[in-house]
């Protein structure tokens, strides 16, 4: 098993954001974590990537406990987190943003090769490589955020609401890219409010509500679950 979260509890001071969640992800899977605003989705990802320290629980990555491991060490082990709102370094150029993605790659030649690959996948970014990241449009910034994550050649990619604020056409594009990244062997934990899109590309899904998992299962069956339809698919 690639990722195994057990009874994870996270608090912000007195506010309990996660009240003991369990979640697993197998190698090669896309797992969708869906839920409304404030459900605790971002908190989950930030705890996996080491930005937040949980109150209790366990997170195992490839068999090793990673709670208490520093964020940069978690990156080194192969978990890359694309945060909510893209978080492009706006004053760095597009290319510098990409180089930040490969920060731990010391081999210059290998880094150059991943950069070329990223430009093949995202030709738009190549055109704009000397431009400040902050000058890109929302869609381009999301592309850059994903390309920057790929630069690290992750084993597990954590995506926090990649569709946020994008037009339907762009959302389609982004989800195609996510699928193609997965096809090339990267496992993905996909956090979304857009449950329809997320479940349509995921293998399995979890539904998070106010800090607890209320439902989980095959993505296909979740798409037809009356409760999911009612709450998240506008049915």
């Amino acid at each position: 098993m690639m990722l195994e979260i057990t009874d994870l509890k996270v608090s912000y001071g007195a506010i309990q954001a996660l009240r003991g969640i369990d979640l697993t992800l197998n190698e090669g899977e896309i797992v969708a974590l869906i839920g409304g605003n404030g459900a605790g989705k971002s908190t989950t990802l930030q705890t996996i990537s080491g930005l937040l320290k949980p109150v209790s629980g366990s997170i195992r990555f490839l068999g090793d406990e990673i709670i208490g491991v520093a964020p940069q060490e978690i990156v080194a082990r192969g978990i890359i987190h694309v945060p909510e709102g893209r978080r492009i370094f706006s004053s760095l150029t597009v290319e510098e943003n990409l180089e930040m993605g490969a920060y731990l790659q010391r081999d210059k030649i290998a880094k150059q090769r991943t950069l070329e690959e990223a430009y093949v996948r995202f030709p738009r970014l190549k055109e704009r490589r000397k431009q400040a990241g902050g000058t890109l449009s929302g869609g381009e910034q999301q592309m850059l955020a994903i390309a920057r994550a790929i630069m690290a050649q992750p084993k597990l990619l954590l995506l926090d609401e990649p569709s946020m604020g994008l037009s339907p056409v762009l959302v389609e594009q982004i989800f195609d890219i996510i699928e193609s990244i997965n096809d090339q062997g990267t496992s993905i934990l996909l956090v979304e409010q857009n449950a329809q899109m997320a479940l349509s590309i995921a293998n399995r899904g979890y539904v998070l509500e106010t800090g607890g998992i209320v439902l989980s299962g095959e993505a296909e069956s979740l798409l037809h679950d009356p409760m999911v339809i009612e709450a998240y698919l506008g049915g």
């Binding site: 370094f89 180089e99 930040m100």
Partner: protein
Amino acid sequence: MTALSSVSFKTPQLVARIIRSVIGIIVVVWAAMRIYNVLFVNQAYGLDTWVRFGITGLIIGGMYALIAIGYTLVYGILGMINFAHGEVMMIGTFGGYFVLEALAAIPAPTLANPDLNFLNAQPLLSILLAFLAGTLAASLMGYLLEKIAYRPLRNAPRLAPLISAIGASIFLQNAVQLLFSPQLRDYTNPDALARGTGWSIEIAGSQVLVTYTGVLSFVLSILLMVGLYVLVQKTRIGRAMRAVAQDKKTAALMGVDVDAVISQTFIISGALAGAAGVMWGIHNGLVYYFLGFIPGIKAFTAAVLGGIGNIPGAMLGGLVLGLVESIGPAALGIDFQLKDVIAFLILVLVLIFRPSGLLGAASVEEKL
């Protein structure tokens, strides 16, 4: 109700703006009259004198610039003013001082000169060692300062690290005073770089002295600034520093060890301040526990003048401040003792009229 609240909201702003404009106009008109008077009515100084002031200004301004970069780097990365930075510079001055003293105590006799010491036998090597020592001492100081006085307060309210900085500043002054006595000491230069010696150039029929220590300081300042610029813009460390300055969490998600980058920032800031400290020693000649205070505040002024958080701004601000305070008293026809007042007046004016400085400040909001 809305009309009322919008009026009561706007009135103080309007009053403030009027007061600002009035102060601004008074200051500008007054300065213009004084300068006009000095330049065209009194004609108190010849061109040679202005050149002398200008040279002094550039030399001191280069040192201000190096120190100012430290304020700006730390502000850029932590959003705080390192008020102990002047003391970091002072530690650098002491570092260089002790090395020069030690080298002067090593005999290096020759047949022609049996009294020769190492300092005068190898003046360039000695100066180099002094700069190395000053730079290392100040970098170490900067590193420790962050680790001990600021890191534990990383997530505390913003006032806490500022108070800690002022405390650290007072502590360092007193520690140095206790360790090395409060006495003023002469900085021991090699004879070849004795203070007050240099090249004489003729300007408008008068001799203008360009000191060796001044040229050395200025050239080194410029080289260090270019070096810093390359470091920040072109290297992996520099890129990480810029990323951390902008967004610590996201930098961490790239695999950046944020604490290490913050330490590096203090080490680099300390190194530049240390180099400036040794320049201060060899050029101005005195070393004592309180010497970092005035250049520290001046360099802070320079950093604010250029736009706090903005590296080219700190460089420009340092040079401009050096020039203004050396030319200013003469140009305004006021007492030369008032040059420090000019610097602080500039600080106040910048804060009132253009808080973002000449080249624009980094916005802290974006970072927090």
